[in-house]
Structures are given as C-alpha cells and as structure tokens.
Symmetry: C2
Subunit: 185 residues, 2 copies
C-alpha cells in the first residue's frame, strides 16, 4: 500500500503525469520506494477509479501527457494512512542469502560480487551527496526541506553502512580463502 501513498504525496507537491512521476521517483521518493512506470500507471488508474485523484480534462489519447491532481478524498486517505502504525519490515537482501549459502558450499565468486556491490553503494552514496548539496544547502530550510534532507541523509548513512560492512566482509572472506576453503570444513 505504499506506492499509492508515495504517488499521492508526489502529486500533492505538484500535479504530474505518470511519466513525470516515474522520473521524479528515480531521484527522490524512489530512494526508499522504487517504482517502474508500469506500476505507476496501473496505480494511477486505480486511484482515479476510486476518486482519490482526477486527471485534468484533455483529449485522452495514448501518446499524450495526462496530468493528474489529488482530490480532497485523496488527501484524506493519505493523512489516514500516515496515522496507521506498521511494524518495521525485515529487510530482504539476496547478497546476504548468498553469503549464507557460501558458508555451506564455499565462497566461490562471491568476493568479486561483494566488491561490485561496494562500488554500487559508493556510487549511490556519491549521488545522494550530490543531490544533498544541490537541493539542501539552504542555511535556513523550512520544515519540509528539513524532513526531506533527513530522508536523504538516511540514504547516505545506509550506503555508508553497507560500504564499511562490505569492506570488512571482503577482508574476512579473503583471509578465509587464503587459509583453507570453506568447502573443506
């Protein structure tokens, strides 16, 4: 149920088309809730059917921009959702599952994969820092900007965390590799 509320949030800030939303997701809400254009279009259709958003009147045709804006019912639904408590989800990380498998059948090419993951996290971190500098360097930000900055910093911190953990992991796996393989246990 998060995608629809992410969409409502984005549309409240600025009426947009599905295509716009897809692009905006890639560099803001998408840090913590990525979405493909297909899922966005589907959710937009559902939201409109339910009367939470409406498309600005334009001749509807396939290749034409279709702008949506949030109706009052949509804003209420968002506020209501904001009030619902959800337990924190357990994270799902295929790399950790691979590492767990490596503890049984040997690391194989996993160390190299971890190096690539570390690079990916480095790049993502750099990207976030760039955005932070560009969009949140105002010395007297309003409340909204402060919160958005905080969210971005959550991303920076997470990427940093994985970078350091991966470095430790790579080091340990390399040592283990040198001094007898896991398979031999």
């Amino acid at each position: 149920m998060s995608l629809r509320h992410a969409i409502l949030t984005a549309l409240l800030e600025r009426p947009s088309s599905g295509f716009d939303l897809a692009r905006r997701f890639d560099r803001s809400i998408g840090y913590f809730w990525s979405a493909t254009h297909q899922s966005i279009y589907r959710e937009l259709a559902t939201l409109e059917r339910e009367g939470l958003i409406e498309s600005l009147p334009q001749p509807p045709s396939r290749g034409k921009r279709k702008l949506y804006e949030v109706r009052l019912a949509g804003r209420s639904a968002l506020v209501a959702w904001l009030g619902q408590y959800e337990e924190p989800e357990r994270s799902r990380d295929a790399l950790l599952v691979r590492l767990r498998a490596a503890s049984v059948v040997g690391a194989g090419p996993l160390v190299e994969q971890m190096r690539l993951h570390r690079e990916a996290h480095e790049e993502r971190r750099a990207e976030y820092l760039e955005i932070a500098e560009r969009d949140f360097s105002d010395p007297h930000p309003d409340a909204s900007a402060q919160i958005q900055h905080l969210i971005l910093l959550a991303g920076v911190g997470l990427e940093t965390y994985w970078m350091t953990w991966l470095s430790d992991a790579i080091e340990l796996l390399s040592e283990v590799d040198r001094s007898g393989h896991a398979e031999d246990q």
Copy 2:
C-alpha cells in the same frame, strides 16, 4: 528466487521438514530473508517436483513430519545461483515513505510511530547480540562460523544504524513540531 536457495542452504546443513525450516528461518537465515510456513511448503513442493530435493520415504499424511534432503542437482543449482551477479536492490521502507508524506501534509502521529520503531530495532538488536554471544563466542571459529557471525553482525549494525538515525529524526521532528507545524508552510 532467493527463498528456494535459502531453503537449499538450510537443507544442506541438515535435512529438515517444512516445520523445522520455518523455525530455523526465524532465527538465522530469516534475518535477511523471512518466510512464512506457507511459502516454505510451497517452495518445498516445487523443489521436489523439479528434482532438486527429495523427501525421505515415509507414509505421506497430512499431520506427519516430512523430511527433505538435497539431491546433487539441488546442490549444483545452489552453486550456480551463487555465481550469478545481482545488483543490490533498493531498500523499501514504508516509514520513510510516511516521513516523506509528512513533509507535505504534516507529521501528525508519526513521531510516536518512530519511537515504536526505534524500540523494535533496539529489541531486535538485543536479540541478535544474544544469539551472537550464545552461538559465536568460540575463540577459534571455523570458516563457516566466521561467515555466519559476519552475517549476524550485519544485522546488529543495521539495527544500530536505524536506532541512531531514528533518534536524530525524532529529535528533528520534535523541534519542527515545537516551532511551527509543517502544515503551515
């Protein structure tokens, strides 16, 4: 595709029933890939149909334990999967989506939710530390134990990270609340 490989890993360590796996997942692989008993039973059935695992011959009946073990093809499939590179997934966190919404419609009861999340992360962290002390205090662990310890420490670090970030976030949101609401922007 991670669940099946998590299951193969667990079964390689010890032939188990679906019920066993569900319990073992709760306190090991489940740190990074949780699974309900329903999904485990379904995947076990699929794996058996595909010939990657086999059930030990016993009169199959509904309320009776059904032990599975991994066949050679299953081990090969696991090793093959281990060699496949996957990009790191973007994390999905409904709380961050809520916070993003709060930057538009105001924080409302979100601070209290964040306190509860912080508590949940504290508890999970304590749980992991307990397991670490109980299972990984051997001064000369073998390679497999070292890797499993490393995975557990990834969990500890993540929980710690979210605890500190949430503390910062709660503090900022409280300040923002005191000095004029986000809604008023």
